[in-house]
């Protein structure tokens, strides 16, 4: 701190220096006081910041890092990595390559890592896992020439695509999981190609997830708007009672609400039984309303509805009714007054509710898993599948990263089109 030294510019101008009582220039004193306040404020938020960093940013970052970093093969095949380094793509694997392979396989056998390495290669080329485990078992007894010995053990080792896959996997950093998440793969020359038609899964599902979420958001808006309007215009006494009806399901467990939809909608369920009893539907042709896309839409609209109603309500409540009355008195029809006066004032609520419902819907997991059957699965169900069943966490991370990117893109679009300032959450 250059406390008492006078500012050369102001003294040059010959102006009187404003100082505090103890002679410190006012500007400096202010800066000290402010930085103290800032430090205190920072210390106050530090626990929260540390909490967020440790429990949120770090694990998510670490998980997303897995989508581009998978050392399962590269760590266990150092000799092959050297060979790939020395020989450009397309080189026919020679005796030296097979020697490197055998030495790596022996090391894997020693460290019990042939399964890890094989699994990594298996992600890109199905069927290669057992190649590693079985050949590693035989590797100890192999003698030169190694090429013959390895091909004797299993002739699949001659597959050029296998060598291409090992080449890309010999670096821990890879974009292959993103390629897989976009239904793409690499052919034997390293070119990016689409996977076989009957295995294309994720792109279509991303699109389906977006469309379904948009549909669910639309349904919530159509259903929620009149409810919010009613709540906002009724006298407080009645609207509070109605509000409880909105909030009560909101407070009920998600699982309870989802399973009660199963009870209602299944083919031996309440709705179908009623329809059959009334005679609308024949007993043999009961309507399938659950374990498909319809089930997912119905249950999710119900579960997400409060997230639409509450922001809308908070925006509608303070709208002054005299604006609409003024429009009516100036000759507008009730439809025009609603469309041109009332609706524009509720846009912040629609934006907030829409964004909230959409983002929640895009990442929804448990409801589609329970009532979605085969056709109502969303992308998060596939992320869960790779986390829990196939244990391919790198692919799960890549899918999750793409989902996050989609949401950020939509958020950006929203900001450009409607403006994020124009958002009122309550």
């Amino acid at each position: 701190m250059t406390d008492a030294v006078a500012d050369p510019i102001s003294s040059a101008r010959g102006q009187a220096q404003l100082t505090t009582a103890d002679g410190i220039p006012l500007k400096t004193a202010l800066a000290i006081a402010q930085s103290k306040a800032r430090r205190r404020a920072f210390l106050l938020v530090l626990p929260l910041l540390a909490f967020v960093l440790i429990t949120f940013v770090a694990p998510i970052g670490q998980m997303l890092y897995r989508s581009v970093h998978n050392p399962a093969f590269s760590d266990n095949a150092p000799a092959l990595a050297v060979w790939f380094e020395a020989n450009p793509t397309g080189t026919e694997p020679d005796e030296a390559a097979y020697e490197a392979l055998v030495s790596d396989l022996r090391a894997m056998r020693e460290n019990k890592t042939q399964g890890v390495a094989g699994t990594r290669i298996n992600y890109d080329l199905a069927g290669s896992r057992s190649l590693f485990t079985s050949t590693a078992r035989k590797s100890a007894k192999m003698e030169p020439p190694f090429k013959e010995a390895v091909l004797d053990a299993d002739e699949d080792w001659a597959d050029p695509q296998l060598w291409q896959v090992m080449r890309t996997a010999s670096s821990a950093y890879t974009a292959n999981f993103y390629l897989a998440a976009l239904d793409r793969t690499r052919d034997e020359n390293g070119n990016i190609v689409r996977v076989n038609e009957n295995r294309r899964l994720y792109v279509g599902n991303f699109i389906k997830t977006m469309l379904l979420s948009a549909l669910i958001t639309g349904c919530c808006l159509v259903l929620g708007y009149p409810i919010a309007h009613l709540l906002a215009t009724l006298p407080l006494r009645h609207s509070n009672l109605l509000m409880i009806f909105v909030l009560l399901p909101f407070w009920t467990s998600l699982l309870v609400r989802t399973t009660s939809w199963i009870v209602l909608l299944q083919s031996q369920g309440v709705v179908n039984d009623t329809l059959v009893a009334v005679g609308v539907v024949a007993d043999e042709s009961r309507i399938q309303m659950i374990y498909n896309q319809t089930g997912t839409i119905v249950a999710m609209v119900h579960i997400l509805l409060p997230f639409m109603v509450l922001p809308l309500y908070s925006v509608m409540r303070p709208i002054n009714p005299s604006y609409v009355r003024a429009a009516r008195s100036l000759g507008a029809t009730s439809w025009t007054a609603f469309r041109r006066i009332y609706v524009p004032q509720t846009v912040p609520g629609m934006g907030a509710g829409g964004l909230l419902v959409f983002i929640l819907a895009v990442g929804y997991y448990i409801t589609p898993a329970l009532v979605g059957g085969a056709s109502g699965q969303l992308i998060s169900n596939f992320i869960a599948f790779h986390m829990q069943k196939s244990l391919n966490w790198s692919l799960a991370a890549a899918l999750a990263a793409l989902l996050l990117a989609c949401i950020l893109l939509l958020y950006w679009l929203y900001d450009r089109l409607i403006g994020i300032d124009n958002l009122k959450l309550g």
Binding site: K112, Q377, K389
Partner: protein
């Protein structure tokens, strides 16, 4: 000093009874966990004084992988499927189990010879043989389905079908129903034509399938009348039919046999006691005892003769075992090597087929 260190570690590890006198065993829940509690846990605690903390999971292999990779293992013994036992072992996530510690059969036959072939691996010891079978509700099916082909015959036996939402077992059953002999199923599945054939067969009933994921679902779906027939784990159907009196029948034709095995995750906190538990639980008598609580076959040959009656005291268990001779006429043993290799690829194709 070292003692202090151990004490603090024990205190901070958030386990409520962090003494060596407890073993945490993770299993699959429901009637299956109950059978293990009755046949293994209770006698083990009575004999050794070591308490057992029983926890359940949808598939114990998943938490094990997560725990070992995170270096925070809380499970001592887990009950996993064959393909997972092999895969986790290959990936170095399991402790090796010394097969010589397993007790010999009462007639003196060594454990290695007494267990069914394939039931002991480097890191795992099988306790039961279970099977995926087709079952039907006699009240919603007219007539008597007898073969796996009937499962796919909607004209003869109308009604919805329940199938597990997974490529494994589903594709094998489709091929067997299409006339492939059990012995040729995996050879056929190695080829693209074989896989195409399986999916073509599934296409014939696709619109009438209700997919299930948890083992407890098929008995529920059958009881609700939501499906007329379903694939299911044989023990669950047995418990619903005999234990709860549901009108369910099992068709053994085309059953797919599989092992469940005990494994010890690498770095298990009570490894010694865990090994003791495994060796205790997989002796001849204990395995036979479990079969009186649930209809899964014991993994030891010597247990077969000791299998008695169900816990109701009336039902003979022997004919309900997947391994009973009458039930094995057209049975397939799950090929774990095939699935370890092709699981990811075929499930991708299966999911794409589901969504199309």
């Amino acid at each position: 000093m070292k003692m202090t260190l151990i004490l603090t570690t024990a205190l901070t590890s958030m386990s409520f009874a962090a003494s060596a006198q407890e073993v945490t065993v993770m299993s699959w829940g429901g009637a299956y966990t109950k059978s293990q509690v009755e046949a293994y846990h209770k006698p083990f605690t009575a004999e050794t004084g070591i308490t057992i903390n029983s926890v359940d999971s949808d598939n114990p292999a998943t938490p094990i992988k997560a725990q070992v990779e995170a270096g925070n293992v809380t499970v001592d013994v887990a009950d996993v499927e064959y393909s997972d036992a092999i895969r986790l072992c290959d990936e170095g996530l399991l402790e090796e189990i010394d097969a010589s510690m397993l007790p010999a059969a009462p007639d003196g036959m060594s454990a290695a010879d007494d267990f069914i072939e394939g039931a002991i691996t480097d890191c795992a010891v099988a306790n039961i043989v279970w099977s995926t079978v087709m079952a039907y509700n006699t009240e919603s099916v007219d007539g008597t389905p007898t073969t796996i082909a009937d499962f796919f015959d909607l004209e003869k036996f109308p009604g919805k079908r329940g199938l597990r939402k997974s490529a494994k077992a589903t594709l094998e059953m489709a091929l067997m129903a299409d006339g492939v002999a059990a012995g040729d199923v995996y050879a056929a599945m190695e080829t693209d034509e074989g896989i195409d054939r399986a999916f073509a067969k599934l296409d014939t009933i696709k619109d009438d399938i209700v997919w299930w994921e948890a083992g407890a679902q098929p008995p529920q779906l059958l009881a609700d009348g939501e499906v007329a027939m379903s694939t299911a784990y044989n023990g669950r159907i047995f418990n619903a039919a005999v234990g709860e009196g549901q009108p369910f029948e099992i068709v053994w034709d085309g059953q797919i046999l599989d092992f469940d095995l005990f494994v010890v995750p690498k770095g298990a906190p009570n490894k010694e006691a865990a090994m003791q538990f495994i060796s205790f639980s997989t002796d001849t008598q204990r395995l036979a005892d479990q079969a009186s609580w649930i209809s899964y076959g014991p993994a030891r040959k010597s247990s077969g003769a000791l299998v008695g009656k169900y816990s109701d005291g009336i039902t003979d268990m022997a004919p309900h075992m997947p391994t009973a001779a009458a039930n094995l006429s057209n049975a397939l043993v799950n090929n774990f090597d095939f699935w370890a290799d092709r699981d990811a690829e075929l499930n991708e194709r299966f999911n794409a087929w589901l969504a199309s």
